[in-house]
Symmetry: D2
Subunit: 333 residues, 4 copies
């Protein structure tokens, strides 16, 4: 990534996107997502999600999402305050929406004009708990959305891990299966900064250049963002990195399944592992592996710990972590 | 109310609140809610709630409320789009928040700066399902709010019915028991148009005149709103009207308890009655008493019907309705 | 107006607009503005303007208006904070925009994406300084707007006075001459409360019922607003009232032209008179006729006083006021 | 800058600002701006400005600024749509506000609650036309702001060039002379991405961490932003770079003063040069030096061309440009 940035260091390149790296990004997007697709480099994930929502839903409308969605629990109230939308959240067993679950938040026309009308469904691919949607599942959600006058947004902060885990292309995991707009994550897959928004249909991309600026997401020296996106998209580097993180997560997951007193809270389908333990050992573990910054969710007697593997996680790191888990669970070897 | 409006028809009175009726409203507010209280006539209930929220919470902050709250399900996304807040909803057994329930939506400081920080708790008095908070319960919520750097808002669209049902003053049912800001309902208690916002502490009222204008809620001929508020506040007319609606609701509730195949979904504490029946008779009933515009909530095999008694409901109306309920439930007399 | 309200006092009418008075309003709108027109009763003028803007312009876009526009100087920052738009103001000689003046605020495509793109021109008919646009002038602005991918909004807080002054219909003074959306004023022409928004094209009216609610402008007992609008629209009552105010303004204007030391700041074309005097006598006058609440604008050595005639201004009032003006100007007769 | 980024490449550093580089940035801010000062790395200039405004002004309030201000003409409607404020612009002779000019946009208390109340004055240091405020001038504006219940914001996108041009510290050019909040520019002084917001008083910084996230400006890998800010702040690198750009601008300015047919539109006080020519040669020049991306403002018979010198402008570049200017002006030597 640093090489990509250094390579983009051409002081005489145009600003605000009028540069060869950004042009190249446009081409790579069309190669991956089809000739109609348009990609826009952005500054961060929350900004990319909120701008994508603003492009589709109008203030006073609503967005249906899982109650675990990043846009609901990890973006302060930015979708509400900046996009002006209400988030209609749905509890899910594994972080994944289905048409049936989404249907529970559809507005009853009889309740108009009092209720906020959903204009968008937003799903995370992979989800915040590390599960993924198959292309067919994306397709089913897209069809459901379109049948109900909504569009489908994919928060792809971890789209690389999802696509690698599914063994499909980025496109098949999102727009190519019917979704309308994608937050294309780069940050969680190794980039220093920057993400992108990709629209499947030029109609929805119309005017987005101004909306990006108005959403505080325009990089003046955009080539440094584009260069990183390009490095990930070209030659499948994204898949290489994601495959590595995913395999480290599987390694960790397998180890946990063989550890007494510990079990998986969710199937391991991408680079996130949910470890379920009794609350006491869970607290001990979180303390002992503080440098890994695991997140602990307490649920009565149980503790759920979220562990993320990344491009620089090594098998030794997994071993060390498994050692700590066994120790916390009371099994020293 | 029409008399009150006609009485306010003095074309030479000042506009935007510089008139004797509005001055009188200020006095009546101080009499009822204490010498520190400040009242502001508003145009409608959603506007009063949203402006009250804007006065306390800043965009990107949050408001804790019951998942049945009017601000959550009946005001489109106005609290989100105009006040810029996230609503953190809590499921409740009977529409009423408790400190324990509210505590489930407190932000974990460890999650800062990613989560929206709650600045306000909002409760409806009476709730949207017709239950009421005792002054002690309001006090407990206010204490909990203040202990956690929040304030307490009471959506008093039905404050008259609540206070009458509790046998306490409007003040005891709200600000006098620790709440910080009150939406003082008038519309549902007979007014033609208009509501008010009342602040307990002048600190929170500071600048609200501009915020009211900026929230699209400034009446140019404010005397016509104030006159109606005054008519309700003076001489306890509000209680007289509310007592009537409440007693009609009790009459209806008693009748339902004696009806086989029908039961109460919530205790009758104000002017709203929740009738629970099997889904089939419920649908028949809703059809047969369409002019009463009952709301039907379908819940699997059960149907919950919301029936509201108002200032002009008569005992005969209750009888007729009970007849229809019995008929629907399959018991003709 | 009070009769109209009393006449609408049918407790069993539907709420939120499902009532005969509101249905009748829809018919009267179609009669006046054409079969494609749709009218929505609103609560106040600022709310009507802001909701109309929200219906057309998206947050981050802009609205071109005169620097004297009510939306710019008399609505706090509601258009900005609630509609999310930038107001691009233009100084005008007489409160009236022209295509040439509006063109000075068009965005240069070369400045994209950094500038706010104007989506709407907004003009007041009559203007805030009492001047009017002929139907041809409205047409020219509408053509200019449409040629530049904008729409035209008419803030008709004084549309009745303008149409009466021009001797044309409400429609010819606004939508019939090419404008797309009209704030139909009622308040300044005698109504107790309430205004309306009228769209020429159903495409722009789509979803406005929800947007009205979300803009804090939905009246639960809408029939009381509709009844007043109907009383004004039916049988040309609006013209009768406006003709009266306008002729009182002309009377006042003629008297001023014959008064030494006083002159007209703007031609009298509706019900507003701008009186120009030296600053000292102007201050004396404003003090002496405080009950008329004249507005004084100080401009160096000159004072401009804004005087508004209304439905209840009588010739004797004009005489008294002229006497005070002569006295202030130092000419007692 | 690239070295700084590479140096920050410690994958095990904490995210969202919990890293040594960001800690060091806090120290450098306190060294430069005083022990009470708090600094926050941000993603871009528009985001930094808008978040700073949100921290001070509430939606429905106003900000006084020059009509040439970046926040007014180069940030779409983001201040309006996201901070919810109205910008009260003032025409200035040289891009600089004075207390007298700002006073023309103060609200008249008699116009409350109809007008937007200014809560903030915002000035750019250096201004968008390359002029600077002396510390005394900043002080006068700060005093004026504080006397009128406002605060003072300095948009320091070019603060380095201003301080270098004035021969004072960054602090003296802004917070140290009474301003309350500073957008500390890094991008225009050589950084690859990132800016900062600095508050003089901890009271105004309270809660800004959440507001930054809610303003779409939180960098997950913040160390890469902080490292660049640190590189500029430490050892006075900022002044070295800015001195260079400024001296190149002076060189260019001097050359223009000696060129017949060309003159300076503004005094050269930082790194921006405004060249005034007849419109025809101005157009020729802009065409001939397109790679420099000069901005041309047409004003009747005159053309004003904005030329910016940066860290990598060399004396040879200035010579070449002066040659093109002379050629365009019709004077080849």
């Amino acid at each position: 990534m640093l090489e990509a940035i250094a390579g983009a260091n051409d002081g005489h390149a145009g600003s605000y996107g009028a540069d060869p790296e950004t042009e190249r990004f446009g081409e790579l997007v069309r190669e991956e997502f089809g000739q109609e697709a348009t990609g826009f480099p952005m500054l961060n994930g929350t900004g990319a999600n909120v701008a994508a929502i603003r492009a589709i839903a109008r203030p006073h409308q609503a967005v249906i999402c899982a109650s675990t969605a990043h846009i609901s629990i990890d973006e302060t109230a930015a979708p509400e305050a900046i996009a002006g939308v209400k988030l209609l959240t749905v509890d899910t067993p594994d972080g994944r929406l289905t048409p049936e679950l989404a249907a529970t938040r559809l507005a009853d026309p009889a309740d108009l004009p009092h209720v906020a009308w959903p204009a968008l469904i937003s799903v995370a691919q992979a989800t915040e708990v590390g599960t993924v949607y198959s292309p067919d599942e994306i397709r089913a959600l897209a069809d459901f959305a379109h049948d109900n006058e909504m569009l489908l947004h994919v928060d792809g902060a971890r789209i690389a891990n999802a696509a690698a885990g599914l063994g499909v292309s980025l496109n098949e995991a999102s727009l190519g299966s019917g979704a309308d707009v994608l937050t294309l994550g780069a940050n969680k897959n190794g980039a220093v900064f920057g993400e992108a928004v990709v629209f499947a249909d030029p109609v929805h991309a119309k005017g987005f250049e101004v909306l990006r600026k108005g959403s505080l997401q325009l990089a003046s020296k955009m080539r440094f963002v584009s260069a990183q996106l390009n490095a990930q998209l070209a030659d499948g580097l994204w898949r290489e990195i994601a495959d590595h993180s995913n395999s480290m997560a599987r390694l960790l997951g397998n180890g946990i399944e063989w550890t007494e007193g510990a079990e998986l809270g969710q199937p391991v389908q991408a680079n996130i592992v949910f470890l379920s333990m009794k609350i006491e050992p869970a607290r001990r573990l979180v303390e002992s592996c503080a440098p890994h910054r695991p997140l602990l969710f307490e649920a009565g007697e149980a503790g759920i710990i979220r562990l993320v593997c990344s491009w620089d996680t090594q098998p030794e790191d997994v071993d060390t972590l498994l050692g700590l888990i066994r120790e916390a669970a009371g099994h020293n070897h």
